[in-house]
Every structure is written in structure tokens, then in C-alpha cells.
């Protein structure tokens, strides 16, 4: 029995039964609604005049305005928070990717004592409650500051350092899987051709693993961009990131919900757009590495 469809179904050569099709249709519609409602609220409310969001909720705005998008920058210093978040997340991502590439290359391509201990230790840090090392890290940074004059507490540097280790375990884990899938013959050929081990890494393994590296970078950026706990403790007025700064709209006497929604949308667009553009790589990276 052959299916007449131009693209054969992935799972079975038979057409799925009607019961399955209907279950699928209903389930996916419900889910799409569940996902979409908050997104719709965010987008529509950001274009509403203040009266619309202060009174009873309305599905349709009484009029559209872009005022919230102009006002958000002056109600709180959003541009500064934005810049801080960009610096912190960007630097944390760049450092995290480089460190993870080195570590994953070592684990994937070399035999050495303590390999298993290393991978297990790094992965197990994922399960630590953030709250457990928040307090000591807070004290550690304060004390390092007092002792050496290096301001880690309250500075962007301290936050970058912290965030880059958050994404590191997952990044290393995923890259090990990815590097393992790059044929060894390739870098051995490079070694024979006279590249050093680092040459083989940068000229052969890294180019072949670009999708995995992109996926890891996306993950690291999202982690740093969205973190709240450490940002709320370890930043001050000048280094505050979006995660903390966005709450500034609600502590004022009036709650400007339309501005909050506009600001939420503005700070989400870079990550959501980046993520959706690159999600293919993430799925591919997970398939090759994490879920194998």
C-alpha cells in the first residue's frame, strides 16, 4: 500500500487513523491557544492607551498608540539596563563558548586521568540549588573586594563570571556529544598535515561543529539574559540588568501596564528572534549530543 502524499509520512507508511488525526488537531489547537493568549496580551496591551489597561481588561484596544514604546525609556532608565544586559550576556556567552569548546575538546579527543570525575562533577553542579551558593558567593565576592580591591560584587564582571559558569556544564556536555560525532579521521589528518592539536581543533573540529557551537551560544545567551536571582542580589543602580530593572515599572505609584508590556516585548525580541532563527541548530545539537 503506497501513500499518495508527495512527502511520505515520517513514522509509518500507512495513513494515521482518523482518531489520531482528530486527537492531534484538538490537542495542538488547545496548546496553540494556551501559548498564544499571554503573547497576545503582551502585544495588544503594549499598544493600548493607559485607560485600557487600568480599567477592566478588554480583548480589543479602544485605540492603538505607540506612546508606551516611547515612554518606557524615560519611566525607568531602560536603555542603561538594556546596555548592561547586553554587555553581561554577550561577554558571558563569548567566554562560556570558548571555555566549553576547550573543555569538550579535551574530553572528546584525549584520554587522561580524572576524565570521568571531571564530567560528573561539572554536570552535577547543575543540580545545586542556586540559593545554596548565592549566599557564599555573595560573601566571597564582597570579601575578595575588601581584600584585593577587585570589585566583583555589584560589578558587571562579577555577574559575567557567575553567568558563564551557569551555562558551562550544559554547554560542555552538549559539545562533547557534538565533537564525538565529528569523525576522528578528520583531525588526525590535520595532525598529520602539521597542525598542532589546537590547529586541529580550530581548523577542523570547530568548523565541523558550528551548529553545536551556535546552539550552545544561544543557550548561554538565554541563560544570562533571563537570570533573576543573582542579578537581584549582585547588581547596584549602575549595573542593574533588565531582569531586575523591569520590575521598576511596578514599584511606582501608578502601574503602567501598557509600558510594562511594551518593555517586556522590547527586551524579549532579541532573544526570541535569535532563538527561533537558530532553534534548528539546538534541536540538531540535542539530537547529536544530549539525548543520544
Amino acid at each position: 500500500m503506497r501513500s499518495p502524499a508527495p512527502t511520505p509520512p515520517r513514522t509509518s507508511p500507512m495513513a494515521p487513523p482518523v482518531s489520531f488525526l482528530w486527537t492531534r488537531r484538538i490537542l495542538l489547537t488547545l496548546l496553540a491557544g494556551f501559548v498564544l493568549v499571554p503573547v497576545y496580551v503582551m502585544v495588544s496591551s503594549s499598544l493600548k492607551p493607559l485607560a485600557d489597561v487600568s480599567g477592566k481588561f478588554r480583548w480589543l484596544p479602544s485605540g492603538l498608540t505607540v506612546r508606551p514604546y516611547l515612554d518606557i525609556w524615560s519611566t525607568v532608565p531602560l536603555a542603561r539596563y538594556f546596555a548592561n544586559s547586553l554587555i553581561v550576556a554577550g561577554a558571558a556567552t563569548a567566554c562560556s563558548v570558548v571555555v566549553a569548546v576547550f573543555a569538550a575538546y579535551a574530553v572528546s579527543r584525549h584520554r587522561f586521568r580524572g576524565k570521568r570525575v571531571f564530567t560528573v562533577t561539572v554536570l552535577s553542579t547543575q543540580m545545586f540549588p542556586g540559593i545554596l551558593f548565592l549566599l557564599p558567593l555573595f560573601l566571597l565576592y564582597v570579601n575578595i573586594g575588601n581584600a584585593t580591591g577587585i570589585a566583583l560584587f555589584g560589578s558587571r564582571g562579577g555577574l559575567i563570571l557567575t553567568y558563564l559558569t551557569f551555562s558551562l556544564p550544559f554547554s560542555i556536555w552538549m559539545l562533547i556529544g557534538y565533537f564525538d560525532s565529528v569523525p576522528r579521521d578528520l583531525d588526525e589528518a590535520a595532525l598529520v598535515d602539521g597542525c598542532g592539536p589546537l590547529g586541529a581543533l580550530f581548523r577542523v573540529v570547530v568548523p565541523a561543529a558550528i551548529p553545536g557551537i551556535v546552539a550552545v551560544a544561544v543557550y548561554a545567551f538565554m541563560t544570562a539574559w533571563g537570570e533573576v536571582l543573582f542579578a537581584s542580589v549582585m547588581t547596584d543602580d549602575t549595573t542593574r540588568t533588565l531582569a531586575v530593572g523591569l520590575q521598576g515599572y511596578s514599584t511606582l505609584n501608578d502601574v503602567y501596564w501598557n509600558q510594562i508590556m511594551a518593555a517586556s516585548l522590547v527586551v524579549s525580541v532579541p532573544v526570541v528572534a535569535g532563538f527561533l532563527l537558530l532553534q534548528r541548530y539546538l534541536v540538531a545539537g540535542l539530537t547529536a549530543g544530549a539525548v543520544k
Binding site: 515520517r10 553542579t125 545545586f128 540559593i131 559558569t165 536571582l229 531582569a243 501596564w257
Partner: protein
Amino acid sequence: MTTTTAERPVGRSTPGAAPRGTPRRRPGRLRRAGLPYLLLLPALVLELLVHLVPMVIGIVMSFKELTQFYIRDWGTAPWSGFDNYRMSVDFDAPVGEALLHSFLVTVAFTLLSVGLCWLVGTAAAICMQDTFRGRGPLRALFLVPYALPVYAAVITWVFMFQRDNGLVNHVLHDQLHLTDQPSFWLIGDNSFWALLTVSVWKGWPFAFLIVMAGLQNIPRELYEAAALDGAGMWQQIRRITLPSLRPVNQVLVLVLFLWTFNDFNTPYVLFGRAAPQAADLISVHIYQASFVTWNFGTGSAMSVLLLLFLLVVTGVYLAVTSRGRRSADA
């Protein structure tokens, strides 16, 4: 294989090769033995600095009477033995009682949230295994909650849960007339369900993403063979898809569990500093106990207890699920 030292000049003089500072020369064998460690060094140092050293400090702190008077120089805080632990687990006293309550709330919340996230994520991934029109955009849409920064997503839910101008009450009260009067969602008992809703909304796409990746590793031939044997769609899902996903699920459920149990961001943005009793998750509770009352010693003791609990659960979970897998394979 030739030694790299002999070959390097050739490599360097290759036209078009990117100029790069060569590392200091050392005898080849030593270099090769040391190289992995050198490559690991940055990761190791960072993990030590940010995770492991603070963890040790945290354990030390939990044995100290560390109040605001000793913050500037915490080493001078007096030792207090197991006082902090005794205080945390004395369930008749207010501190211990509150901690136990928070723990139970967290357990209930985590079980429900992980269960729902897994169920919805898996169902959606299986539904989208076949190609159909609109599959790509739908997949992108489903990943949006995961991609949104936590605070932006949760703050939108805060707006929706507002009593007077939120969407939830508008729908439930004004449009469907299900409640006598608009209810409070972010204080009181309802806050638990509000938190659960937000958590599932935010969390299921991750399960969806992982299961989707896991499905791609199931060989097509399995389905073809099953179809030839006359197995229907539902049977294929039950007999092939779900069993094949077991290794993926083992990790996925564990990761979801740990993340949900430790979640701080969602309740913190949803409720602010003071979480309502019904939704007093453990991370926020410990945060309150430490940073609001400035009692870091007790806060650390609670964190250590939490870590011990998670270690035990993880250990038991891995032992049980791995044994199940081995006996299933046999």
C-alpha cells in the same frame, strides 16, 4: 604519527594559514600529556570559583552564627555547632514549621508541574512527529514560552492575574460567570494554581524540545516493520515510541525535577519578595530567611539540607530507573 614539533614550521609557512601565536615549546610527549589538563583548566577554575568553593563555604557557614554583625568579616562569626540545623528542623518552632510547610508546598508543586510539563511536551512532540501543513510555524510558536526571558513572560502573567484589570478574571467572572466575584490570584490559596499554570506554560516547551530531539533518533525501520506487522498508530506509539524514549525521559524528568524544585525566578517575579503561604517555594523561602532577616547561618543550613535532599532523591531515582532499564533490556 610524526611529532608536532618537527611538523610545525611547515604548517606555519602554509600560505593562507591564519597567523597564530604558537604556544611555548615543550618536549612533545610532555605537551601531549599535559594538554588535556591545560584545555580543562579554565572550566575547572571557573567551576571551582563559582560553584565548588562557595558550596564548601556554604557548608562552613551553616555551622556558624552568621548574622548581620559578622557580614563584613564572616570568618570571625562564632561557631554554633548544629544549632542552625536544629533550628531548621525543629518543626514545632516557627522557623522549622515554616520550612516544613514550604518544603511540602514545593514537593506538591514540583510533582504536578513536572508531570504536566512532561505529559504535554511528549504529547505535542508525538503529534508533530509526522509532517503536516503548518508544522514548522507551529513548532516555532510552541518554543516561544521557552525562549522568552523568564521575567518578561512571568510579568505578563502577573498582568493577566490582576484582580481588577486582568484577563483571567475578565474571562472567568465577566464572560463565563463562573465566580461570584473577581478572585485574587496572586495572594491566598489561588496563588498555588497561578504559580502552577505559569510554571507549566513556561516549562513544557523544554520537554517538547527534548522529546522532539529524542524522536529523531528512533529508526524509521522500526515503524515500518511494525506497520507491516499490522500495528496501528496507537499501538506504534505505545510499543515503539514510548519505550524508545525511555533513556531520554530518564534524563529529562530528572532535569525538570531539579529545575522546578530549585526554581526561584518564577515565584520571585510572580509574587515579589513576599510569596503567599500557599505558594511559598523553598528557594524563595530560604532567600527570605537569609536576605530579609540577614540570618545567613540558618539560611545556609537550610540550603545544605535542600542539597542533601536533592542528592538523595537523584541517587535513588537514578538507581531505580537504571535498574528498571537493565532488567527491561535483559
